[in-house]
């Protein structure tokens, strides 16, 4: 029997027992407890509305009024060829395939890497790496005050689990391809990922969201990253969902002393997209570099919500988000920097630049600083503009054709964020997609 939800919050509460019975044969009691607590939070919170300050610019009515259901398998629509079509070309990686949120081991390819490194589906890890999962899962992504995290926590079924022990380096990146199929419209998928990187260890994780058809569904993603002392990690969010789908993602990063995280978000798909990135720099000398690029067109809506928390002295953070908006698209950049008491000598910087390619595109950008401390350096800057005619003329006066000049200008804008990607094949693949985006945009003008 399909587990279905309607526009009433109760339907989500009522569905949970059946969900647990259907998808978890033997659910550990600690997990069952968390799930039950999480749905209680969700029923209290409900879906956010624009009255909620953090959701002021994003109306979720299309989600809250929709009738979703837990996705069916959809596996018949996916095979080796379709996987190859979606995957990043020439990326040497551990490949994990999820279809409608469920791990498909036959299509996945996990290679051997350094000793002790664990890469598998979270559902498997619930048994095999029970202690690690229990210790970390849900400890950072707080569900009590966040509707989507609580919904994910209650209804997650699977995701990727990565564990890199002390001083080990994962040579190959972990590539997680999430495919939504159209076997059944309006499905709700709650991918849940947990990445544990111990002291002095290193890993790169790529999350990639695609669909086989342009249909309606909600991907509600939560990824928890735990970085030990001096650990290094890179995270990629490649959001290429169906143009009718909703993607709400939360990346929650917990950092210990001297650890470094680099996060890259590329938003291209989806009707309504919300990209939450929330690192907590909890130990001296941490670095958080957060890059993003959002390219909404038509009537797409993309909302980036950054919350960078400095909880210890001597930490540096950089936020670098660029947006290019066309047609009737809307974009939001909400960048909050919180400097807690005692986080002396914080150096936090935030930049948000936007290019509007049409008169009807719209961007709301809102930097916010909360500083409970002295002796800190926080800067933020936001710009909104059109394509620079002077620069276009300059390029044309050098013999470069109009279309090419426009492409160069847009590329210069996207390069600022793409350049920071260390995985060359990912960068190239994104560059190509962005070029296609430009071509399409020019063709319509």
């Amino acid at each position: 029997m399909a587990i279905e939800f309607n526009n009433k919050v109760e339907s989500y509460v009522n569905g949970l027992p059946e969900f647990q019975k259907t998808y978890f044969k033997e659910i550990p009691s600690w997990l069952s407890d968390i799930k039950n607590e999480a749905i209680k939070s969700f029923s209290k919170l409900g879906f956010p509305t624009p009255l909620d300050e953090d959701w002021r610019f994003t109306n979720l009515a299309p989600i809250s009024r929709n009738s979703f259901q837990i996705a069916s398998n959809g596996i018949s629509e996916v095979n080796k060829e379709s996987i190859d079509k979606f995957s990043i070309p020439s990326l040497d990686c551990h490949k994990l395939i999820f279809v409608n949120g469920r791990y498909v081991s036959d299509l996945s390819d996990i290679k051997s890497d350094a000793d002790g490194i664990v890469i598998k589906s979270l559902k498997e890890a619930l048994n095999s790496d029970k202690d690690l999962v229990e210790k970390h899962l849900g400890k950072y992504a707080e569900y009590k005050n966040d509707a989507f995290i609580s919904l994910n926590t209650a209804y997650f079924e699977d995701g990727v689990f990565v564990y890199v022990p002390k001083s080990k380096i994962a040579e190959k990146p972990v590539y997680v391809l999430n495919i939504s199929t159209n076997e059944e419209a309006q499905s709700l998928v709650n991918p849940r990922n947990l990445v544990i990187v111990e002291d002095n260890a290193e890993v790169k994780v790529v999350e990639h969201y695609v669909s086989t058809a342009q249909n309606v569904y909600l991907s509600n993603v939560v990824t928890e990253f735990v970085l030990g002392e001096n650990a290094n990690a890179e995270h990629y969010m490649l959001e290429l969902e169906s143009k009718k789908a909703f993607n709400i993602s939360t990346l929650r990063i917990q950092q210990k002393r001297s650890s470094n995280i680099k996060s890259h978000s590329i938003l291209l798909g989806g009707a309504i997209v919300r990209n939450n990135v929330h690192p907590v720099l909890n130990g001296e000398g941490c670095n958080s570099d957060i890059f993003g690029l959002y390219l909404p067109k038509d009537r797409q809506h993309m909302d980036n919500f950054m919350r960078v928390e400095h909880a210890s002295p001597h930490c540096d953070s950089r936020q670098f988000y660029n947006g290019i908006l066309d047609d009737k698209a809307r974009g939001v950049f909400h960048g909050r920097i919180v400097v807690h008491e005692g986080a002396m000598l914080t150096d936090a910087k935030q930049t948000n630049r936007n290019l509007l390619l049409s008169d009807t595109a719209q961007i709301d950008t809102k930097p916010q600083l909360e500083i409970y401390n002295y002796d800190v350096k926080c800067t933020h800057g936001a710009t909104i503009g059109q394509m620079d005619d002077e620069a276009i003329f300059y390029l044309k006066s050098r013999g470069i054709p109009n279309k090419e000049a426009r492409r160069i200008m847009l590329q210069s804008f996207t390069n600022e964020t793409l350049e920071s990607m260390s995985l060359e094949p990912v960068r190239e693949s994104m560059e190509n997609l962005i070029l296609e985006w430009f071509e399409e945009s020019f063709a319509n003008k």
Binding site: Y394, K396, I408
Partner: protein, 252 residues
């Protein structure tokens, strides 16, 4: 090579050029001088094809073609180069990328094969040496964070790579110290050839000590009111533009 006849140009309903005539033959160096607001920069921008300017009358023939009919990029490919008075900063676009794209666009226009990376690199390095430009220049974003002098040298560098048949220098000397000025002048002089013409727009006579013009024209109120040899530049330097204004007033 270049024939400007009775050129009238408007910007936002204000007439700036009011019937300008000028002929530049192959291999000649012409200097255009004039006070602020006389129409010097407008002339250079109109020749390069900036669309904010409206040509209301007259014509411009370049190598037998109606220049005003061509898009800016086609004018460049036909051999026109404008060294900007205020070169534009383009963050995120490397100098080398711009130059290679520009050179190859021009080669394509003229049915030539694109230059390979290696060949281009060799060419660029050669020219950079002469202009005392550091190699890091190539990788830096176009004019971003450049000093005034670096920006102007970059314009000359681009000119050397693109090898135009008509180079228009719009106040390239303004704001340069004497050392930078000499480097720029050297770059221009090394390009002199019987097939190449120069239109040097300047406010000061100083540059003309280093780049010796065949003709000097004085532009005033949208027209060329006086033409002569290089002596005219010295006269202007000494007496200022006041006597030109008086002379013109007396004529009316």
């Amino acid at each position: 090579m270049l024939e400007i006849r009775n050129l009238h140009v408007k910007v936002e309903d204000k007439e700036i050029l009011k019937g300008l005539n000028l002929t530049v033959n192959k291999g000649e160096i012409h200097s255009i001088m004039g006070p602020n607001g006389s129409g010097k920069s407008t002339l250079s921008q109109v020749l390069a094809g900036k669309d904010a300017y409206e040509v209301t009358d007259g014509e411009v023939i370049f190598n037998g073609k109606d220049l005003l009919e061509l898009d800016p990029e086609d004018r460049a490919c036909e051999g026109i180069f404008l060294a900007f008075q205020y070169p534009v900063e383009i963050p995120g676009v490397a100098n080398t990328y711009l130059l290679r794209e520009a050179l190859n666009a021009k080669r394509k226009y003229n049915d030539l094969k694109p230059l390979k990376h290696v060949e281009f690199g060799k060419l660029a390095r050669e020219k950079m040496k002469d202009l005392e430009i550091d190699e890091s220049f190539l990788k830096r974003s176009v004019n971003e964070g450049f000093s005034g002098g670096e920006k102007k040298r970059n314009e000359i560098f681009q000119m050397q790579i693109l090898e135009p048949s008509l180079a228009i220098l719009d106040e390239t000397d303004s704001g340069l110290d004497i050392d930078a000025l000499q480097v720029v002048a050297k770059g221009v002089n090394s390009m002199k050839s019987p097939d190449r013409s120069f239109l040097i727009i300047t406010h000061y006579q100083r540059l003309l000590n280093y780049i010796v013009p065949d003709y000097v024209h004085v532009i005033y109120d949208g027209q060329i009111v006086k033409s002569g040899g290089k002596e005219l530049a010295f006269e202007l330097e000494e007496k200022g533009y006041g006597w030109i204004e008086e002379e013109k007033a007396a004529k009316v």
